[in-house]
Structures are given as C-alpha cells and as structure tokens.
Symmetry: C2
Subunit: 462 residues, 2 copies
C-alpha cells in the first residue's frame, strides 16, 4: 500500500526468501472467479467447440482436463514440487539500489525467475507438462522455441524425467544462438531449425521461401504435425494455453506470501507479455485478491511496440500457428501470418495473446501498454548497473514500465509499492545487447500495413 515519501513500514531486507515448505501446493485457476467464462476454443475444421477427444492426439488427458477446468485450485503433484525445489521458492528482491539510482520514493519489488536451471520462468510449466505426459505413458515431447527459453526449459524437464524431446527452433534464432541449441542438446534434446524438411508444414514454407528466417507460428505447425502422427509422442506449448498459465501461478502465490512477510501490498503490478504466461503467473493470484476486495492494485501488461497484440490487435478467433493446425481461439491477435521485423531484438514476438489474458483484458481487469525497444534496453542498463542482474530482453519491457511508474512517484511524492517479475536472465541474449551497445538497435514504427495484411488473412468466424 502506498505511504507518503520517507515513511517506511519494513525492516532492512533486500532478498525475501521462503522455505521449501512454502512452495505452493496448488495452482490457482482464475476461471473460477471470473464474472464470465472465457469463449471456448473451436475445432479448426468444424468450427464447433473443441472436445477432449479432438485434443487427445496432442495432449495428455490431465492437461486437457486442466485446460477446460473451472475448479479454483488444482493440486501440484508431489513429484513436481520435488523438482520445483531445485529453484523454488524463487527470491523476491526489494530493488533498493535501483530506487536510489532513480531517486524515487517508490518501493520496487521484483520476483526473480532467472534462478531456475533453464534461466527463466518456463520450467514452472515444463516440469508438470513432462510429468503428466510421462504418467500417461508418453515417451517423447515435441515443441517449438523462438528465443530458446522454452526449448531449454522443456529439454531440462524431459531430461530430469527421462523422456525424449524434439525441438523446432526458429531458423533465425537457430543460426544466431548456437549456444541455446548446445544447452538443449546437453540436456539430451534433438534440435532442428524451423522450417525443416522433416514436416509437410516445413517443406511447404521452404518451397515458397527457401531463405525464410522462420517464425514461432511455423515452428508450432511442425511440432504439432510430428506429435499428431506419433502415438508415443505429444506436443507441449510454452505459453498461451490455460493450463500453461495455470502452472505459472506459483510465481504470484509466492510473491503474495513474500510481500506479506514484510507487510506490503502492491499498488501496481507489472509484467511483460508475449504469449502471456509470465504475466499471468504473477497477475492472476493478485487479481483473485483484487476481485475479492482484499487489495486494489492496478495491473499492467507491457508488450513490445513491434508486436503489440493487446494494444493494437483485434479480439477475434484466430489460429495459434501459421499452418492453421491448432484449434481456433478467441484472442487479441495481429493475425497468425504476422511476423515481427527481424530488427526487433526484444523478444515477445508471438502474434497473439493468451485467450485467458485477452478475456481478462476484455473484462477490464487489467491495463496494457506497448513500449519501444530502446527504452527497454536503457531500462535494462539502469537495472544491471544498480541491481547487478542482466535481464533477458523480454522482462526489460516490464522494467521500462516499472521505471516509468517509479518516476511518476518522484513527481507525486507517493511511495507506491510496485511489484514486477524479472522472468529470466539474459545470458543467452548477448547478441541483442551487443546490438544495443554498438548503437545498431533501432525503434520501429508500428507496422500498420503488415498487421492490416495479416488481419485480412484471419479465418472468418463471426
């Protein structure tokens, strides 16, 4: 809760820890508390609401059950909590040195998910996804990866659970980030550049544009195609879907406990959004508290100006992938054929927003803004030089918004409590930082024509 400048209601801590016993025992499902249920996914051919049977070739039954569940809480299996212990509870930091650098009376807290072995929040869902698949006899998981955070997380999870893992890495990233590939291979995964000649979807794209840099949408098509054709394999997605967002709620549940330990309640909650899983992980448990009237923070999603699905996209039914193999979901989308300009180094390149976040946004429960990438990398530098940690490009969007809010507090004199997530470190994103240091990082105008073209290509549902 905001206090006036100078006042302090907390002792002198920097890192707020929790014991292992305080790792959450349940994930929180926001659907149970929403005033209106989210629109159902539709079958890409029949356009009828999708059934469990439709999804069975891609996902294990337990994840399908979670995807459509309206239960408020879902138990975390002991075997999953056991692996969570390798990095959870993750620390919550009070950013005292950043506050001092900015000269702000705001109290800034960040939940740091980069402590996971894969370096981001992604293992929070990779581990349960691998676990449920294995429990139902699945031998191999297929997936896509862009920047590489998700592919690394799934390779890590399948390695610990003794499963095979096959990753389609977006071509541009495969070429520019050989270290990410090595990391996945060290965990035992097989990594292909996407588009690849191994799938029908990949071959179709290669035929038309042999030198394409690839996109997440294409890589998803390839991974889905391979999983659907192999009875021993299933597909795993790193964001967007309800069950993925559900698994990430451990972030917000822990943050609430940690803030309570130091007697704080947030005034502003800020997260970056690509597919939306990190944002939802922090924000949904806090929205539960807000809807129940126990706190009243402003909740803010921050996206890149180069790929602004929430602030500029249409809220309509669209495909999750380029080839149109996935179900149709109602989401804020720039069109499934939209690909951000390669000059965009800031991550968060997916064309759509998680349906559940789109729905929550449509209900007016959260706000959204888009920030250009240079401001984000400037924020990263301020953070790095005060707090020490090098952020992944994705959470620099949340940091940029955090700094904006902290600066507002200088003007108003309010000592607001700002809570954000630092969802990953940037150790495998150094080429983006090299561009930034060398001055070759540019801000792009909003790609209006490209989005218009992609939106014209939407499936006609309504």
């Amino acid at each position: 809760m905001a206090t006036t400048a100078g006042e302090s209601n907390s002792s002198h801590y920097t890192k707020i820890g929790l014991s292992e016993d305080e790792i959450p025992t349940q994930w929180y499902n926001i659907v149970a508390d929403l005033p209106k249920p989210p629109p159902p996914p539709l079958h890409p051919k029949t356009l009828q609401p999708i059934t469990a049977d439709d999804l069975a070739p891609l996902f294990p039954m337990e994840l399908i059950r979670q995807e459509v569940s309206a239960e408020r809480y879902i138990d975390i299996p002991p075997e999953v909590r056991e692996i969570y212990r390798l990095w959870r509870p993750s620390p919550l930091f009070r950013a005292r040195r950043l506050e001092k650098l900015l000269g702000t009376p705001a109290r800034i807290y960040y939940k740091y998910e980069g402590v996971s072995p894969a370096g981001s929040h992604k293992p929070n869902t990779a581990v349960p996804q691998a676990y449920y698949n294995k429990a139902e006899g699945v031998k191999k998981l297929t997936t896509e990866t862009g920047a590489g955070q998700w592919g690394s997380a799934l390779a890590f999870a399948t390695s610990l659970l003794g499963m095979d893992c096959e990753v389609w890495q977006v071509r541009a990233s495969y070429d520019a980030k050989p270290h990410r590939k090595t990391m996945m291979e060290l965990w035992g995964a097989t990594v292909h550049p996407s588009p690849s000649p191994l799938t029908q979807s990949g071959r179709a794209v290669l035929k038309e544009t042999p030198d394409t840099p690839g996109s997440l949408g294409i890589a998803i098509s390839e991974a889905v195609e391979v999983a659907a054709a192999d009875p021993d394999a299933r597909y795993a997605l790193g964001s967007v879907l309800n069950h993925v967002l559900l698994h990430q709620t451990v972030i917000g549940e822990e943050a609430l406990k940690q803030l309570a330990k130091v007697g704080e309640t947030p005034d502003i909650v800020i997260g970056c959004t690509g597919g939306g899983s990190n944002f939802a992980g922090l924000a949904f448990p806090i929205l539960r508290e807000k809807m129940a009237g126990r706190m009243s923070p402003r909740v803010l999603a921050v996206e890149p100006a180069a790929c602004p699905s929430l602030t500029k996209g249409k809220y309509v039914y669209d495909y999750g992938d380029t080839a149109g193999l996935t179900p149709l979901v109602k989401m804020h989308t720039l069109g499934h054929s939209f690909v951000p300009d390669p000059i965009h180094a800031g991550g968060l390149r997916y064309h759509g927003m998680a349906p559940l976040i789109s729905h929550v946004y449509d209900l007016g429960l959260i706000d959204a803004i888009a920030i250009p990438q240079k401001e984000c990398f400037d924020a990263a530098t301020a953070f790095l030089r005060s707090e020490g940690i090098l952020p992944a490009p994705e959470p620099t969007h949340a940091l940029a918004a955090t700094i904006r809010e902290a600066k507002k507090c200088i003007e108003t004199g309010e000592s607001k409590v700002i809570l954000t997530t630092l969802c990953g470190h940037g150790h495998f994103d150094m080429s983006s930082y090299e561009k930034f240091l060398s001055g070759s990082l540019e801000d792009l105008d909003y790609p209006e024509d490209k989005v218009a073209a992609a939106l014209a290509d939407l499936p006609k549902i309504e």
Copy 2:
C-alpha cells in the same frame, strides 16, 4: 559424519537457505591458526621481503594490511555486506537427484556460487576490493581476465560503486568469448585484448609473437604496468593473494552454518583449484574446524591434468606474471612462462597456486589430485541431467572428484558426507561444451617437456 547406508539423520530438504542476517560479519584468516607462518613475498629486484610501501602503487593500504595480517578475523564492512545481499547467503543444495543417478549411499552437498550477478564466486572479493580502493580515493581499477569470470566480477563491483574499470582479456578468450566482453562493457568497463599495444609488456610480446593467443601472466603484466603508472588507479587480482582468499571464506562460513542446520558434518571437502580462491573460500573455515579437532574431514584440491601446479609443480619462489613485474612468491608453480595448450577447455590455466594453499599443502593439511578434462565434462553432463544446473568448466573438476568419491561409497557401503562448491555456472562457456558435444575435446598427456622448459626459466632465489 558418515553413517551406514540407508540411515538418514536429516529431514527431506533439497535447498538449505540462510537469512540475510546470517551473512557472515567477518572473514576468516587461516594464517592465525597455522603451525608455521607462510614464507614472505620478495621484492622482484632486491629479493628482500616486500614492504607495504613497495605494494602501495598497486593496492590500497587496507588490502595490504589484510595481505600480511595475522589476525584471526577481519570485519566485513557494512557497505560490503549490503552488496553481498544481492546474492548472499548463497544456497547449499543436497544433490539428491545426482545421488540417485549414481546409486550412491553418499550424501552430496554443493554450495552454489553461480547465483551471483556475475555468475561465480568472484564478486565475493571484487566487491570488497573495489570498496577499499574507493574508500582510499582510487578512481579506476585495472585487471586481467582469462575465461572472463574475474573481469565480469570486477566490472560488476566497480559499476555498483561508481568507479572506472579497465580489463585486459587474454586474446584467445577475447576472440572466442565476445559475450563476456559485452557483459563487462554493459557494466561500464573498458576491455582490451591482451597482449595489447597499450603497454610496454604487451608491445614486447607482440613484437616477438604477433599472433600469440596471450596468457594470464601477460595480461597481469599489462594491468599491473598501467596501474603502477597512474596515481588514480590501482590493480586488482582475482585469486592467488592472501586477501583474495580471505574474502572468499564467506563461502565456507556459510556452508558450515548450513550443514549445522541439517545436523551434518563433512567427511570429504572437495574444491577445484586454478589460482585457488574458490577452494580456499570453502576449505579454510573447515580446516579451522579440523585443526581445532571439531571435525576431521579429508580436504581435497582438484586441478586439471593439463595445468597441474600442485601435483606436478615445484614449491619455489616464482613470479605471478610473465614479465616479472609482480613480487616473487613461494608457491607450487609450473614456471611463470608456462602456458597450457589451447586445446585445454577446462579453465584453471594459471601457472602457479596461491602461496597460502601451497603452504597449507606443504604442511600436509590438504590432499591434491589432477583430473583429465573429458572425465570432468562427463561429470558435468551427469550433474546437468540430474541437478539441472550447467556448471562452468572449472567446478567440473570438483564434480568429477565428487563422483569418484561417491562411487567409492557404493563399494564400501559408507554413507559419507561430501561437500563441494559449484563455483560458477557455464552460461558463458558454451563453446567448450560445444567442443565436448562434437567430440573434439581431447585429453592431453601431461606436458612434461613444456613444464621442464618453464621450470628451467625460474628466477634463481634459493
């Protein structure tokens, strides 16, 4: 303490934390407890024991005082503890998944120093070194870096304290690891490849061997030369010296508290050694307990077979650098002109061992072994696939020895308590892992002729 197989005297924890208040308030100086004082450093020209005045152009007075101190404990300044809070106390993990993978009754604990913003144990000393220099009016620190861990740590520390930092990075590393350079530059440091045309020492080497890959010894000469000539600058060393080892004792002090929390005492303590600071940081507080009769672990230093200063070097006076600008110190050395073969990817490439560790080894308080690099990378893979974390190449030596000891326990049925440090993550060492995956990593025979040649080149003191 070892128990018989199956017996367990501890509850079900994985990560043993400490609160911020449990960050040590003092560093431990082992010199106070040794049966014999260590031999003094000598002036490189007069060959007389070095004086504080001799060292003043290179180091601030407080660090010189610590270098020669015989006090048992030295207070950690509150300002340094304040920065330590960004990553300390570091976690102690029980490696339950690795134990299971190996099928060993041993109980393996590892202290993880990769949680620091620079990714290794090096900031434990970089921060106090920068702090004491700043307190005495120094504006700039110069240093060398090989793999980049130390340069990153000093760049991080000077960034937080608002000082300039100039780093000479060994040419081979500068070319092969551009990301390390970027990391240092993001923290505001200036980075030169070494040898550089900026110094007399660098120019001399370049004239003779223009395409040299460089060495730590040469880079030290350059950094020392520049600091000595600039009244506003001083030099900082990342290992080897007494005060550096002193600062690292926070590792062992925390580990002792953490083991005590779960009712364990170590039977074997294992650390990797290059210059020796990470090993000393863990081992010295434990040797205190051992010398006082409160525990009786075997303490084991592990070095690479390609650069085996403790197990194959001579215990004589030698220079710390190639050009002979540093004081002469009595240490186990392969000769200051020795440079390990470029094929060695495992780090720990320094020609000498910290004088204090050499002395402790000479006194018979510790053991030492050398391990070839392929066994180390195999150990890293086992660790990565069970515990999740990707180790830097350096601590893989300690992991390989840990696995050897854990396997011995399978034969004997003893449930020994093994304690080691994982002194850093390998996120910036992926090219070494790429070599390992591609099969191009080779074990080298012990470079007998090269060492003989370097030892023939030793200064004649005794």
